[in-house]
């Protein structure tokens, strides 16, 4: 496997080099030389389209979905509803997949959701030490740091140190629960509602909720001006 993979990568590089030569041949004004990865992926995509294995428009639709339609604003709406509606909060904690589906947030990498709630004495943190598991329908695709070796390695052995790197200092008497997403359950943290938001409606509350607070590396900050 190792030898063949190296062989493949080298070959793909060679194929890409031909493309590069072609590209430079017909576009002399091209200022930026495409990166090796750009050429290799372009070559792969072209081959797959030529073979009828993928539909280019379907690729565009997938990219558009995660660049523009699905992201942490979804999760923020779920959190805000849980803050203003005690019955919804209870449904969310009892059966997160169903409660989140009430918003229409369902599907890939969120089929089996679990919501864990922060309190003044309990703080939750989500990680995937083995790869990059993350609840796509509510948070979108994960940020690079979540997928990086420093976070994956440290979250389980030094969670308080990890939170400190994000500027969050927890008191010693707060219990920390780290959720390692090793199976097909996907975790969303329900952060604490910040003080000073008593008069806020659901929409104003949702605007305060950050992606990081739903992963557990941050709290939701009180509103800066106090008014919305």
């Amino acid at each position: 496997m190792d030898a063949t993979r190296r062989g493949f990568l080298a070959a793909a590089g060679a194929a890409a080099a031909q493309d590069l030569a072609k590209a430079q041949d017909h576009d002399h004004n091209h200022q930026v030389v495409p990166s090796d990865a750009t050429l290799r992926v372009k070559a792969l995509e072209s081959l797959l389209v030529d073979k009828g294995l993928v539909d280019r428009a379907a690729l565009d639709a997938l990219v558009d979905t995660y660049e523009h339609k699905i992201g942490p604003r979804n999760g923020a709406r779920v959190v805000a509803r849980a803050w203003v509606d005690p019955a919804y909060r209870q449904r969310l904690l009892n059966d997160a997949s169903a409660a989140i589906a009430e918003f229409g947030y369902t599907g890939i990498q969120g089929e089996n959701m679990v919501v864990v709630e922060n309190t003044p004495k309990l703080h939750n943190l989500v990680v995937c030490t083995l790869c990059s598991c993350y609840p796509w329908p509510v948070l979108g695709l994960p940020p690079a740091w979540y997928k990086s070796a420093p976070y994956r390695s440290q979250a389980v052995i030094n969670p308080r140190g990890v939170m400190r790197e994000f500027g969050l200092e927890l008191a010693d008497d707060v219990e920390v629960r780290v959720w390692d997403s090793t199976a097909e359950l996907r975790y969303l943290v329900l952060p604490e509602r910040p003080t000073g938001t008593e008069s806020f409606n659901e929409e104003a509350l949702a605007a305060l909720v950050t992606r990081d607070s739903m992963i557990g590396v941050a709290k939701v900050s009180p509103p800066a001006g106090g008014k919305v």
Binding site: M1, T4, R5, R6, F8, A12, A15, S35, A37, T38, R40, V41, L44, L47, L48, D50, K51, G52, V54, D55, A58, A61, L62, E67, I70, G71, T106, G107, I108, G110, E111, N112, V114, T129, L130, C131, P143, A144, W145, S148, P150, Y151, S153, V156, I157, P159, R160, V162, F166, D172, D173, V176, R177, V178, W179, D180, S181, T182, A183, L185
Partner: protein, 219 residues
């Protein structure tokens, strides 16, 4: 496989580096290989566990050196070759084999919203006797399979408590190698951080790890 992908508890990787206003993809090729990987999955020639395993077997030094989507690129190309969607010669030449018939992609643009919203749950509605009950003391097995597993190294041999039973799910250790789904219960198992890391850990820290029946033994 005891690979470098199994990172829990490793040290020396340096600081976490969050990026302000991070884009979903950092370059067009990242978006394209993400979409290519997802779209090829609809041929049903592999499953998510096989897909994860294909990244784990990237040569270990390369795994650490490569960026996230470089790993996706390397993995999906090897899968596509190994599972017969394309030949290595086609990859190397960048052109379909002479005389090969053009196929019809299973995923078309109009189907994307529906398939994304439906998902592909690994939960199985089949009867399976749970081997453990909530509140029971358990030990994560001390096992080191050469193939795919979702039992992290840092938990093996450690004592925990069954916190909740999530129901019945596909077993990745067999599914990744096309040896069947072997559905069984998955539990959230609560481990004291001190059990995992010794006295340097806080007595108020706990790690919850999702584990299948086959990863556990009674104490």
């Amino acid at each position: 496989m005891n690979g470098v992908h199994d990172m829990g508890g490793m040290q020396g990787f340096g600081p976490i580096q969050p990026e302000k206003n991070e884009p979903v993809f950092h370059a067009r090729w990242e978006a394209r290989i993400y979409a290519v990987t997802r779209a090829l999955g609809f041929w049903g020639k592999w499953n998510i566990d096989a897909s994860r395993y294909s990244r784990e077997v990237i040569p270990q030094a390369d795994y650490l050196r490569m960026s996230y989507y470089e790993k996706w690129f390397a993995a999906v190309t090897e899968l596509a070759i190994a599972r017969g969607l394309v030949t290595r010669a086609e990859f190397q030449g960048g052109k379909p084999a002479r005389g090969s018939a053009k196929q019809k992609p299973p995923l078309t643009a109009n189907r994307v919203p529906a398939v994304e919203a439906r998902g592909a749950s690994a939960r199985r509605n089949v009867p399976s006797m749970p081997q453990f009950r909530v509140g029971q003391n358990v030990r994560a097995r001390n096992m080191h399979p050469l193939g795919h597993t979702r039992l992290p190294r840092y938990a093996r041999g450690k004592l925990g408590v069954i916190d909740r039973d999530h129901g019945v799910f596909v077993f990745p250790d067999t599914n990744a190698h096309f040896l069947g789904e072997k559905p069984q219960h998955v539990y959230s198992v609560r481990f004291e951080s001190r059990e995992l890391w010794g006295t340097q850990a806080s007595t108020r820290d706990f790690v919850y790890i999702d584990m299948w029946d086959d990863y556990l033994e009674p104490v």
